[in-house]
């Protein structure tokens, strides 16, 4: 007689997706990020770069939904300013779309860098211990003692504003938290039986760390990385707002806000929309982060 309770064998991925899907807000957040990523990928398809950075002085401060004539490649074309124009008559929506590309790239690259560097250092510190661990962890403590944004600001202020320096500043300041996180996880994993088994089978340290230890340390790192991307994007807009990040005329949400600042009274649309873009992206990443934590954290599993 077959058992009345059917077993539901799920792969870890299915199990994760099943849990994650239950959090509706997190799924919405994921949808928003997918939207932004695809907008960033196909930015040139919507608006050409030349149009987005080129001045159209006669159309300065065109309000939301204005139709006006613009010059593009020597030709005069009718153009609909869906979200209006800024102080140079540039299309706000177009600049936001190209700005999305910058923000998405910054978020991914800085956190990829931080996870890679911080993760390796943390794994080494946790796995080998000893003097190496002391040096790495004290270094991380010192870096954590400086507030992230202040540190990033100091780096860019010293090195000069450029895209590379911005990435470097945000990347470096994001490293120490992953060092701590990975080290703590490695410490809990490295003495378990399966690691011993791998060692007994003759696996070398490198293989043990990469194939056996690290995969079991990924959950908190993934959650932190999601929240970290939000933090990175926020830091980048903040530095650009202060004139230390992406330099105009290249569009970035932070420098768009900085340019909109003198025109709060006359052109509030130049202020509202880029800010909304920042807020929705950060919000979406935070929602995904919360969802991932609930789905991956074994402590909360019932």
């Amino acid at each position: 007689m077959p058992s009345p309770v059917k077993p539901h064998p799920r792969t870890p991925w299915q199990e994760f997706w099943y849990r994650f899907r239950k959090n509706k807000l997190a799924v919405v957040g994921m949808g928003v990020i997918l939207l932004y990523v695809s907008i960033a990928l196909f930015a040139d398809f919507f608006y050409s770069w030349d149009f987005v950075v080129g001045n159209q002085i006669p159309n300065a401060f065109a309000t939301v939904g204005t139709k006006a004539v613009v010059e593009l490649g020597g030709k005069k074309v009718e153009h609909l300013y869906i979200l209006g124009a800024d102080n140079f008559g540039r299309d706000v929506l177009g600049r936001m779309i190209h700005g999305a590309r910058v923000s998405m790239i910054i978020g991914f690259i800085t956190i990829a860098f931080a996870v890679l560097v911080g993760g390796s250092l943390g794994a080494i510190a946790g796995f080998y211990g000893g003097v190496l661990e002391t040096i790495i962890m004290r270094g991380a403590d010192i870096l954590l003692a400086i507030p992230n944004m202040l540190f990033a600001l100091a780096i860019v202020a010293a090195m000069g504003p450029s895209f590379q320096n911005l990435l470097l500043a945000i990347g470096i300041t994001s490293v120490p938290i992953y060092v701590r996180l990975v080290r703590a996880s490695v410490l809990t994993v490295k003495d378990q039986e399966f690691v011993e088994a791998a060692r007994a089978l003759g696996a070398r340290d490198g293989r043990i760390i990469v194939r056996h230890v690290l995969p079991n340390c990924m959950a908190p790192v993934i959650v932190q990385a999601t929240l970290g991307i939000a933090q990175s994007i926020l830091s980048a807009t903040f530095l650009s707002f202060l004139g230390l990040g992406i330099q105009p005329p290249a569009p970035e949400w932070g420098n768009m806000l900085s340019e909109a600042r003198p025109y709060i009274i006359s052109a509030p649309h130049t202020l509202i929309f880029p800010g909304l873009a920042i807020m929705t992206v950060i919000l979406a990443y935070n929602l995904i982060g919360d969802g991932l934590r609930d789905a991956l954290d074994p402590k909360l599993r019932r």
Binding site: R138, A145, A158, M159, L257, L271, M279
Partner: protein
């Protein structure tokens, strides 16, 4: 307790040295020669070299770092300074005033702004966090949770400008620029600065409270017929607030950094505007001094919070007392092991 205090203060030393070393290294490797910046465009290389010598910039990295910490006494008098520990890092390239003079003069403004924001955030976040937790999944809980989520996702500088647009441009209630003589002008900057911390603390209070409310001793308190208000206030809240205190402590540091942004948006005369002005004018000594100053204040605030924390949570103190006992016992065991075969 003294042992804990001592231990914690001792930990501050490597942090201070590390932070100063990092900030100093940044200016050391920064492109652009300060001596050339100070001289007119057509200055000869000899002039630059001479000025570098007078400023002590031709010395090695570690000598310069030593100067940075303990003072510099050059060939001339104009570039002498007493070093970071004497709160003297020379004069601003732009205004020629002592850099720490400007900072100490404006710092009270930043402290005032941060304090108002902190009080505001505590007054709002803790009650709302409690209400939200005690009525989990109610309408008010939903509203609070969503607002808190939006709050942590809102860039402060954007919020500041939105508040200016709503409250000073549209409603004409508060001034958009911060003027020290007008107490109303601190309202918008304080609201802006408080928003993020309020959101973070509300979330923390809610989740911490929810966790405590599930504990057995709360069930016991309810079972013995205590009034729900007493259960919340006397039993749950006291334990739920412990992690909140940590978060508030972290927020104090974050508020100081957030002040940089808020002050810029409202042209508020604090340490943030000093820093941003200095960055825009490439005024290296002033940037260096403000960054180091804020980092040190941040470290100091963390220290104070940690110490307060030990007073609030007896478990922290107990850890140190027990560690002491264990050490003595360990010694005893070591001796006894040697003597017994």
């Amino acid at each position: 307790m003294l042992r804990y205090l001592f231990h914690r203060i001792l930990q501050l030393i490597p942090v201070i040295l590390g932070v100063t070393l990092i900030v100093f290294t940044l200016t050391y490797i920064a492109p652009g020669d300060p001596a050339r910046l100070l001289l007119p465009q057509d200055a000869s290389d000899e002039d630059v070299a001479q000025l570098k010598h007078a400023m002590g910039l031709d010395r090695s990295f570690f000598v310069q770092y030593y100067h940075f910490l303990f003072g510099y006494d050059g060939p001339g008098d104009s570039f002498d300074y007493k070093g970071l520990f004497a709160l003297d890092l020379g004069r601003s390239y732009v205004s020629n005033r002592p850099v720490f003079g400007t900072i100490l003069e404006r710092f009270p403004n930043t402290v005032l702004l941060s304090t108002v924001a902190l009080c505001l955030s505590i007054l709002v976040s803790i009650p709302f966090g409690i209400i939200s937790a005690t009525r989990q999944y109610s309408k008010i809980d939903m509203v609070v949770t969503v607002l808190a989520l939006v709050g942590i996702s809102m860039p402060a500088f954007w919020l500041g400008m939105l508040l200016i647009w709503i409250f000073s441009v549209q409603l004409k209630l508060f001034p958009s620029l911060a003027v020290p003589s007008n107490p109303l002008s601190i309202v918008l900057p304080a609201l802006t600065l408080a928003a993020m911390s309020t959101a973070v603390q509300t979330r923390m209070t809610r989740s911490s409270m929810l966790e405590v409310l599930r504990q057995d001793y709360i069930r016991t308190a309810r079972a013995k017929g205590l009034d729900e208000r007493v259960v919340i206030r006397k039993h749950a809240l006291r334990n739920a607030l412990i992690p909140v205190v940590t978060v508030v402590g972290i927020q104090v540091g974050q508020l100081l950094v957030g002040a940089v942004l808020t002050e810029t948006v409202f042209s508020y005369p604090g340490i943030g505007t000093i820093m941003v002005d200095a960055i825009n004018r490439k005024d290296t000594p002033q940037i260096l001094a403000s960054v180091v100053f804020m980092a040190l204040i941040f470290a100091l605030v963390n220290l104070i919070v940690d110490i307060l924390y030990a007073f609030i949570d007896p478990r922290i103190k107990a850890q140190y007392v027990q560690a002491g006992i264990r050490k003595k016992r360990g010694l005893f065991h070591a001796i006894s092991r040697k003597t017994t075969p």
